[in-house]
Every structure is written in C-alpha cells, then in structure tokens.
C-alpha cells in the first residue's frame, strides 16, 4: 500500500507518494517488477505520472496528448502535453527509453489525472534505456538516472518550498 508525505499550504493539501522517484518538474517515475537482475537497467518498465502538486498547480485537465507507443525519448524530451483550464503544459520525460504503453484513459477521461494522480492517472510506461530510477542511490555512473531524479523526501521538500513561495505571491 502506497504511503504518502503530506503538507498543507494555504488551503491546499499536497501529497507525495513515497514509493517512487520524481523529476524536479513534478513527474513521478516508478519502476515495475522486471525479469532482469537489479542493476541490469535495460528493459526495465518505468511507469510515469504527475505528482499531486503538479496536477493541482496545473488545474483541471481538459486534454492530454502522450507520445505514441514506440516513441524513443531521451531524458528531458517532451513526453506529453496536458491542456488544462489554466494553460498548456509540456511534460519532460524523467527517464530515457521507449514508450511502450500509453494510458488509454488519457484519451477518454483525462480528468483521472486530477482524481488519482498516483494511481489510475498515470501517463505512460517507458522501457528504460538508461539507468532507471529504482536503483539504489549509490548506483552511479555517467548515465545514472537516479542522480537526475529526486527521492520522495527531497521532492517533498522542494515541492513544499515552491508551494509556500507561490502562496506568498498570491
């Protein structure tokens, strides 16, 4: 069962799931069970979605366009564009690899991103070609994916700081 870090900023409650990694932008990446040995890296499926903070900050989602299956992405390439009541937001892939699955709900009921960002609202699954983010923090290397993602605690602090700054501006 997923556990969460939680904070309240102004009238908003933000939750961070503790069982995945995050890009500083607010996309989560969660490695799925893989037949490959730990550390092998290649071929690991990584599920991607929006953090609770990112979905709340972005607003109610009207449309989502995810790169189609088969698309090969480098770290930071555009994975999806979400159009919300506030803006169109380009989302950068938190891992490198090939898109192997796109959540069909994005086509029909994209509001699931707002309703269940850590569950049914996932965007896509990427077969990682890079060091995937499930590896232990001490797994390094020049292509190390972990170094480029935040663990839940680090993202929580970063998100909280950003949310508090945003609240002060309002």
């Amino acid at each position: 069962m997923t556990e969460f870090l939680e904070t309240t900023v102004d009238k908003f409650i933000f939750r961070v799931a503790t069982d995945r990694y995050y890009s500083s932008e607010g996309l989560w990446a969660q490695a799925e069970a893989s037949p490959l040995p730990l550390g092998e890296g290649l071929g690991v499926r990584v599920r991607i979605g929006l953090s609770d903070y990112l979905q709340q900050r972005s607003g109610d989602v009207a449309f989502v366009e995810v790169k189609p299956e088969g698309t090969v992405l480098a770290f930071g390439d555009e994975l999806a564009v979400i159009e919300t009541i506030k803006a169109s937001v380009s989302l950068a892939s938190p891992v490198a690899g090939k898109v192997v699955e796109v959540n069909p709900a994005m086509e029909i009921t994209p509001e699931v991103i707002n309703q269940d960002p850590y569950g049914e609202g996932w965007l896509a699954v990427i077969e990682a070609s890079d060091c995937p983010p499930f590896l232990p923090p001490n797994f390094g290397g020049e292509r190390g994916g972990v170094a480029r993602l935040l663990d839940p605690q680090a993202y929580f602090l970063e998100m909280k700081r950003e949310a508090e700054e945003e609240a002060k501006r309002l």
Partner: protein, 140 residues
C-alpha cells in the same frame, strides 16, 4: 413559455478572474436574453450566497440549470443549499471537451474561441431548457 409559467432558473458560476467563469456567464446571458428569454430567469449566484430572499424564492420549486466553471461546482451546490433542485448541471470544462476547436482565453474579454464556446454551451442549455419545459421540470 414553460409549462404553467414556471420558468427555468439559470445560475452561472460567479468566479471572477477566471476564463471558464466568464464563459459560463456569457452562455447564461445568451440563453436568458436571446435564446429562451421567456422560458428562463437568470439568478445571480452571489445573491444565493448572501441568502437573498428573492433569489432563494426564485430557485425554490423551479427546475434550475447550473453552469459551473470548475469542479468546486459552487453554482450547483448553492442552488441545493438554497432549497432548489438542480435539474441539469453544465460544466464549462466538459463543454470544452466536446468542442475542442473553441479554446477559451481571456477574462474580462473572451477571445473568439471563448465566445464560440459560450455560444455552443448556450445552445446546449437552451435544448435542456426545452426538455425541462416539455417535461414540467423533470429532466428528460
């Protein structure tokens, strides 16, 4: 005129500074002033929030069509809290999903997409008003 002279109450979002709120109000004006002026009555959400007696009386016992600009659904909630019945609740976001070619922008002044979306929504609401009028206030 609606059956028995019972006008359908139209209550739009009162969100100020929000594009979708502006779309909801523009759609409400079009329905109540142009498309179905004799079958509908516009009631300001702010008056319901204030507990205004005339506004509460207007929604009591009449079918209400609410137009909400966001998921807080203030219009629908306030009609219910004011003793009214929401016969149909329209959400601007859902309307936009049905009419993606009309991307609304702007707040005080909507862009062309916003005007088109408001018009499309107004047409949908007018059709709902017709259904309610035919069915004596019960949604078809």
């Amino acid at each position: 005129m609606s059956e028995g002279g019972r006008k359908v109450v139209i209550v739009p979002c009162s969100g100020i500074g929000k594009t979708y709120g502006t779309v909801s109000r523009e759609a409400a004006y079009e329905v109540t002033e142009d498309l179905r002026p004799t079958d509908t009555q516009l009631v300001a959400l702010s008056l319901l929030v204030l507990g205004d007696e005339d506004a509460r009386a207007a929604v009591a016992g009449r079918p209400a069509v609410t137009i909400d600009g966001c998921k807080l659904a203030c219009a629908a909630r306030m009609v219910e809290e004011s003793g009214g019945t929401v016969a149909r609740d329209f959400a601007v976001l859902d309307a936009y999903r049905r009419h993606r070619q009309f991307k609304p922008q702007g707040i005080a002044e909507l862009n062309d997409g916003g005007h088109e979306l408001a018009h499309a929504l107004a047409e949908e609401i007018a059709a709902a008003v017709d259904d309610l009028s035919r069915n004596g206030g019960e949604d078809a």
